[in-house]
Amino acid sequence: MINASIAALGLSLAVSAAQTAVVPQGKASTRAETGSAASSKSSFEQLSRSADKARAENRDDEAVRLYEQALNLRPGWKEGLWYLSTILYEKEKYANARDRLRCFVSQDPSAGPGWALLGMSEFQTREYSRSLDHLQHAMALGMGGRKEMAQSVFYFVAVLLTRFEQYSESTNMMIAMIKSGQQPDLLVEPLGLAALRMPLLPTEIPGDRRELIRMAGQGALALEAQRQEEAQRLFSGMVAAYPNEPGVHFLYGAFLLDVRPEDGVAEMKRELQVSPFHVPARLRLAEEYVKEERLDEALPLVQEAVKIEPGYAAAHMMMGEVLVAKGDTAGGIRELETAEKNAPQMVRTHWDLLRAYTAAGRSYDATREKEEIEKLNRPGAAQ
């Protein structure tokens, strides 16, 4: 697991001039300044200067004490909150760092690095749901060009997406990370977990399945790098070694469907014997049957998929595709619209709808779908 140090993340420079310049007015603006307040101001300035000096001289314990004292006098002091948090994070006092960062982002909700460090602290305190929310928020805000920090955030988000059973999103993110230069070795286990649809963090892998997960991850990496022979060797070895593990035949089958569809279909069927409720296996099988125009075999598969996971957009999308292919355009459009509602960012659904609306003579709706596709394909659009 990544446990990036502050130095590696470049956090010591993370507070921008804009962030440090303004201390919220709050109480100071609503109260008349008394003599005691004036003295407190002077003492705050002394403390903050001493804290900064101690930090610059790497006297961390003293810096922590001084920042805390200064923050007692001025709880909204953003610079102090930030530097104190970074020291606490580096000293692995994650819960303390988290609490200070919550105050920091409350003061400055647009500070991407603040949300990033907060999410990373919450990852360490195992508040995974919050951590994912905050890391994704940091991604949306940006991290001001801090590459190392961005890499850490992407890694944490990817492994958390898997833990929250968002396997496709997690896989897509890891593939994007590899394409942008991330060291693939670090992603072997996370990719293996996502590929096998196991909602675990790498640190939570049971000892008896680590080898399986590594094989799956290495196979996925080989596939991504278009090293087909290596992928074939790894996946077939994995299936031979772990024939009864859920997800194994699906993964191999998904690979085979692209190279030897007949064998891919057989593997998908084996997966359904091992995991009778495996929705993606049903959908990939149905997709293959549509390709082969075996629509009567595809239909029950998608119907079962929708029944098993009624909220799963891809199941409705595939059902829509099958119905349209069978000539039931109205029924297909209904399913595709359900898919669109559940996952509006899925481009394929919009393409399906564009074609279905056009076939149904609904040119206004077709145009709208075309615009949606263009919007989603713009650089930076969420996929």
Binding site: G26, R102, T125, R126, S129, P199, L201, R209, S275
Partner: protein, 383 residues
């Protein structure tokens, strides 16, 4: 977290004292705070509400709004302090107990949090749906931590039926099902897979999807058959489906692994009684009571075994103890009525029969009745 609570949507009774305040500065702060809150200028709103309650500590609406804003910012220690002040002065503090419990959960004051959830429950669990869902979920987590597994599962099964599946719910159900006195944040990471599999089985059991329950229960046994509580849990799942013989086998296997496992002894004894084998059940139930005399279900099992072997006075003695430990349990009252009738204590028998009918009528079957017969010395979860 299960989900965010839209705090300000909660019903709130304005403090009439507020309208009588003559001070202009206070009135202005009230107005400005409201404007800042409505405009989503959260830091300003927090400052203004803080100033307002400083000027007028009896301003309950101010404490409420301040607590709500701080809670939404994840600033739990500060939110906790505000809700405490609110609860101390408000005429209707009901929902504040839930928020206090939630804040204290986050600040790791778990005993206090449990007390506040119980206080909230005793007021009828007031609040909107979101609050009821989040607070009920955290209450269940704390009941699990306390070892009050049946109560926790009762609450969680209700959430499962109402809200559907979520990773957080599955994890919580897994911990309670495996009788692990842990929170999701603090159990050993290497047990995540075990917990997840158990949680999946428990979830699908709660929503009566027994084929899927079976799939996960089988996977659990394949990988973790030597783990304490796994066979017991499997036995309870089979018991819910009235597969008594199979359930009994699982309890026996649990007792081979964990010879002091009181719940397995109790459930096995009850299966034996239902199979007209009370003589064999009696020593088992006696052993369970000897190991844990404050276990209402153990007392109930022994009372029933004695009743079936015509030892009526001893049966009544144990059923009376069970009743004291779990006064809301309909089956205990039914057994007691039978024992009193056998002893010729007609009036008492009639009283217990009436109690049985009343409790049975009230029983919202969110979990099998036997799951709710845990120790209930304190106020139970909301209906």
């Amino acid at each position: 977290m299960l989900m965010a609570v839209p705090l300000l949507a909660l019903f709130f009774t304005a403090n009439p004292a507020l309208q009588q305040t003559p001070q202009n500065s206070f009135d202005k702060i009230v107005k400005d705070a409201e404007v800042a809150r409505t405009a989503d200028r959260v830091p300003d709103a927090i400052e203004l509400y803080s100033e307002g309650v400083r000027l007028r500590p009896s301003w309950s609406e101010g404490w409420w709004s301040l607590g709500s804003l701080l809670y939404d910012q994840d600033r739990f220690p500060e939110a906790q302090a505000a809700f405490k002040r609110f609860a101390a002065i408000a005429t209707n503090p009901g929902p504040a107990y839930a928020f206090l419990g939630l804040c204290e959960y986050e600040t790791r004051e778990y005993d206090q949090a449990l007390k506040h959830f119980q206080a909230w429950g005793s007021k009828g669990s007031p609040g909107n749906d979101a609050l009821i869902d989040v607070a009920g979920f955290h209450w269940a987590l704390l009941l699990t931590r306390e070892g009050r597994f049946p109560e926790a599962l009762y609450l969680l099964a209700g959430k499962a039926q109402k809200l559907g599946r979520s990773p957080a719910l599955v994890e919580a159900m897994g911990l309670a099902s495996l009788r692990m006195t842990n929170l999701p944040e603090d159990y050993p990471q290497e047990r995540r897979d075990l917990v997840w599999l158990a949680g999946q089985a428990a979830f699908y059991s709660a929503v009566h999807e027994h084929d899927r329950e079976e799939e996960y229960a089988n996977k659990l046994l394949i990988h973790y058959s030597w783990e304490p509580n796994v066979h017991y849990f499997r036995g309870t799942l089979l018991g819910f489906q009235k597969e008594r013989a199979e359930a009994a086998k699982e309890y026996q296997q649990e007792l081979q692994l964990s010879p002091q496992h009181v719940p397995a002894m109790v459930e096995l004894a009850l299966v034996q009684i239902d199979d007209f084998n009370a003589a064999e059940a009696t020593p088992l139930a006696e052993r369970a009571v000897a190991l844990d005399s404050r276990n209402s279900r153990a007392q109930f099992a022994l009372g029933r075994a004695l009743l079936e072997t015509d030892r009526f006075q001893e049966s009544a003695d144990h059923l009376e103890i069970a009743k004291r430990l779990a006064p809301d349990s309909a089956p205990i009252r039914f057994g007691l009525a039978k024992a009193y009738r056998a002893l010729g204590r007609t009036k008492e028998a009639e009283r217990e029969s009436a109690a049985f009918l009343s409790l049975k009528a009230k029983d919202e079957v969110l979990a099998p009745t036997q799951q709710k017969n845990g120790n209930r010395e304190q106020a139970g979860p909301p209906k």
